[in-house]
Structure formats: C-alpha cells, structure tokens
C-alpha cells in the first residue's frame, strides 16, 4: 500500500473506531483519562507502523489490542510508583464487565457518561467531542473560539469530577433513559447548530462541527434504533444540513430559505432525512409514542424541503406542527417561529400582532428583531422596519447573517 492510501486508511479508521476503542478501554479500566491516552498512543503507533508494515486486516482489533497494552503498561508503571492496589487489580482482571443497562454497548455508556447532567453543558459538549468524536483538544478549542489551555482545563476538570464524584460509567436504567437521553440529544443538537450557524467568529459555517454532530447522531441511531427522538434529531440534522450548499452566497451573505436555489440542496441527505420522518410518521400512526420535539422539528423541515418552490410551501401544515410543538415547549422562540408561519397563512398583520406580544422576553434575541423587521416591511411600515433591522444587525453575531440583514435594510424605501 502506498503512503497516501495508508494515511487515508488511518483517517478513516480513526473516524470509525475511535469511540469504540475509547469506550472499550473505559469499560475495562474504569478511567476516561487512561482510556483516552492509551487510544491516542495506539493511533500514534499505527501512524508509525502501518506505512511500513501495511494496514492490518482487522484495524479496529489491532488498535484495541495495542491500546489495551499501552493502558496496562501505564497502569503498571503507576501502580509500582503509587502502590495503587485497585489499579493493579484492574490490570489482571479479565472478567467481563457487569451488565449495566438495557443496551450493551460500551459507546452508549460513554455517551451517557460524557453527557451526565452533573457536568456543565460546555463540559458535556467538549467531552463528547473528545471522547466520542476523537477531536483533539486543539480542534475543539478552535471550534468554540477559546484558548487551547482553557479547553484543556475544562476537559480535565470534567474528567476529574467524573472520577472524584463517582459519575458511573453505565447506561441509565430503563425508567430514566428517556429523561437522560434528552440531555444527550441536546448536546448533539448544540454541536450541530454551532456548526450550522456559528454564533460568533469570522466563519459563518463550521462544516466539521455539523458533520461531527451528524456522525454522533448516526451513532446514537445505531445504538438506540427504536427511539423516536433519536431518529427525529438525525432527520432534523440531515434535512437542515442538506440545504447548506445553498445557504451562503458567493459574496458571503446568508440566503434565506425562500431565496435558496433548491437544486443546490444535497439529494442524498434529503432522501435519508425524509425516509426517517416517514418512518416516524408510520410508527406514530401505528400507535407508537406521540412525536417529541425533534420529530416535530424534522417534520416541519420535511414540509419545507418537500415544496418544489418557496411559494408552494404548505404553510398551514407548518402552523399546525408548530402548534403541536407549543404544547410540548411553550417557549417564546417556538411562539416566534409559529408567528412567522402564521404570517404566511393569515398575512403579515396577524403574524406581527403575535410577534409583538413577545417583545419583552425576546428583546435581546436578534432573530426576533429580524422577523419583526421583515413583517413590518411586508406590512408597509418602512420606518419601523428600518429600526428593527438596525437592532437585529447589532445583536447578530454571524457575519453572513449580518450581511444579509444589512442588504435588506438598505433595500427599504421611505
């Protein structure tokens, strides 16, 4: 095998096997630090040896074995130094782990450990990207625009808490899996959204973050194939990401859904997302659990992407879906989105009346002022629209979004 091919193989194996290797080691040694460092060392060894010796027939198995040996070496050194009986015992303990939950997959335990509610949200995000995604600390720091030392400290603190506070490495019991899973899905969706529309910085889109979130979504779907919300979140991310090629213009300006070139959307992602939404609709129709938040958001996105043009969008279905979402999540953001859809069905005046009711709670949110500016413009109230655009531009952190809002404001007459 030639050089570049080996490099490609290592990159691919890293993507596919990292989480499995880390999770397997974490399960055996009960220590995320040991697991992560041994996995990283094994990949370094692979990068040295494979170009010379060729890629082994079972790369995942090779990595797992190598990483286990590295971990044992490390624990031996430490147990000699500190005489830590427990760690020494783990070295020789080959007994299979206790059954720990409804789903027997080490990676799933790793997900629930990294996303434990006792950890701060930002620590959950960082740990998930590190332990499951295999991103380096430097990559994660870059993605969230913080210093590498800051991110390293954050991850170290989270791992120390896992150890000191005895956060268990296991899948929660059946009864609280649903509750705990909502937190896991929130972490993945947060990673996706930060990639899809970066909240700050010079880059409007961070492809690697949304790609990573989709990969995590696919992994969760493999691990929990029967969960409707897992399918819903994956569908939502696929249907949203499919529109990415049409979302930012060549001049770096955000292109809204209505103005996007629908032929530029990714057909494969759309098809996969639609199929998942269909699967969920059928499951609900067959008497399954009613759809949760992500399934409803995915369904809304499916209505958008089903329309051959923006004019053909089935807005009344979208209003109805937002209405159902409001029952689950009566937040001002959901009410704002519903109001925008209402404006398409009943006219900008009706939508505006609903939007204005949210003025107090959403005053600091750029999308509120952007939506209001657009409705005021359509209602023929140019002066007020200009003020609302100014406020939205002030609050928006994304450069592509600011460029779009500025152009719309400057197009106002009167």
């Amino acid at each position: 095998m030639t050089g570049p091919n080996v490099e490609e193989a290592i990159t691919r194996v890293h993507r596919e096997e990292w989480a499995q290797v880390v999770a397997g080691l974490a399960c055996r040694f009960g220590d995320l630090d040991v697991a992560e460092e041994a996995a990283a060392e094994a990949f370094v060894t692979a990068a040295e040896r494979w170009p010379r010796d060729g890629v082994p027939p079972n790369p995942g198995g090779w990595l797992a074995t190598t990483a286990t040996r590295k971990a044992i070496d490390r624990l031996r050194r430490e147990s000699q130094r500190d005489a830590k009986h427990q760690e020494a015992r783990m070295v020789y303990d080959d007994s299979p782990p206790e059954p720990t939950g409804p789903v027997e997959d080490d990676r799933l335990r790793l997900v629930f450990t990294c996303c434990h509610p006792a950890l701060a949200m930002e620590a959950r995000v960082a740990l998930t990207l590190r332990q499951l995604g295999g991103l380096t600390v430097a990559e994660i720091a870059r993605a969230f625009l913080v210093q590498e030392t800051t991110m390293a400290r954050r991850i170290t603190r989270a791992k120390a808490k896992i150890k000191a506070a005895h956060i268990p490495y296991r899948v929660p019991s059946d009864e609280d899996i649903r509750e705990r899973l909502a937190g896991v899905l929130a972490v993945v969706y947060l990673i996706f959204n930060e990639g899809y529309l970066a909240s700050e910085g010079a880059e409007p889109v961070r492809v690697e973050l949304s790609a990573e979130a989709i990969r995590l979504g696919r992994l969760l779907r493999t691990l929990l194939p029967d969960d409707g919300e897992v399918a819903g979140l994956l569908a939502l991310m696929l249907l949203t990401d499919a529109r990415r090629p049409a979302r930012v213009s060549r001049t770096g300006e955000l292109v809204t859904l209505a103005e996007q070139d629908r032929h530029a959307w990714e057909p494969a992602l759309l098809a996969e997302g639609r199929a998942l939404v269909r699967e969920r609709l059928e499951a609900v129709a067959a008497g399954g659990d009613p759809p949760g938040r992500y399934q409803l958001l995915a369904a809304i996105n499916r209505v958008h992407t089903d329309a051959p043009s923006a004019r053909d969008t089935d807005w009344s279905t979208i209003v109805a879906l937002y209405g159902r979402l409001l029952l689950l999540d009566p937040s001002p953001i959901v009410r704002l989105n519903r109001a925008v859809a209402v404006a398409e069905v009943d006219g900008p005046g009706v939508g505006l009346a609903e939007v204005d009711r949210l003025a107090e709670v959403l005053d600091g949110y750029h999308a509120f002022h952007a939506a209001r500016a657009d409705l005021l413009r359509r209602a023929g109230r140019g002066g007020e629209s200009r003020t609302a655009y100014d406020r939205a531009i002030d609050l928006a952190g994304n450069p592509a979004e600011r460029a779009y809002l500025a152009r719309r404001r400057d197009q106002l007459v009167g």
């Binding site: 434990h116 006792a118 000191a164 506070a165 005895h166 268990p168 929660p172």
Partner: protein, 97 residues
C-alpha cells in the same frame, strides 16, 4: 416547617433501612456560628459564619452510595423531604460518595 421535619424524619428512616445512612443531623442557626482562623500565631475567633450569604447550611447527611447517580437520586428525595436545596459532595477518601 413541622411538615418538613416529619418528611425528613421519614426520609432518614428510609436511608437507615436501606443501609445508606452514616449520620444525619440539623445545624443551629448561622447566628450561633463562630469562625476560627488558626493559621497565624494566635488563633482568631470571629462571630458569625464563614460565608455571609442569604442561604445557609441547615443540616447535613453523611451517606453511603455506590455512585453519583444513587447519591443524586437520594439527594432529590432528601430535598423534597426537607423542603430545601441539597448539595452533593463526595468524601475525598473512601470508595463511596
């Protein structure tokens, strides 16, 4: 208040039966606290609690639990029983929380 005492008593009893309880008791009001700093040459005694805040520690449980999930579930029950917030903090030594 009486309700909280009764509920907490019942919760303590359950902790005892299930083998989680090591020790539990309430604390007198923060006005009865004295802060001691013995780091200098002569110890300094100051009237009042270590931290002057609106919230204060009312009491504590020392429990045995297999892991944080068990401890958090018990803390949630304890919080409901005593009608207050509960902070969970592991002991530095020992394998239990």
């Amino acid at each position: 208040m009486l309700r909280a005492f009764a509920d907490t008593g019942a919760f303590n009893e359950r902790l005892r039966t299930d083998g989680h309880l090591v020790f539990a008791d309430g604390l007198e009001a923060p006005t009865t606290a004295t802060t001691v700093d013995g780091r200098g040459g002569k110890p300094v005694f100051t009237d009042g609690p270590y931290l002057e805040t609106k919230e204060h520690l009312d009491g504590f449980w020392v429990i045995e639990a297999a892991d944080l999930d068990v401890a958090l579930a018990l803390a949630a029950e304890g919080s409901r029983a005593c009608h207050g917030t509960v902070e969970v903090r592991p002991f530095r030594s020992g394998g239990s929380v």
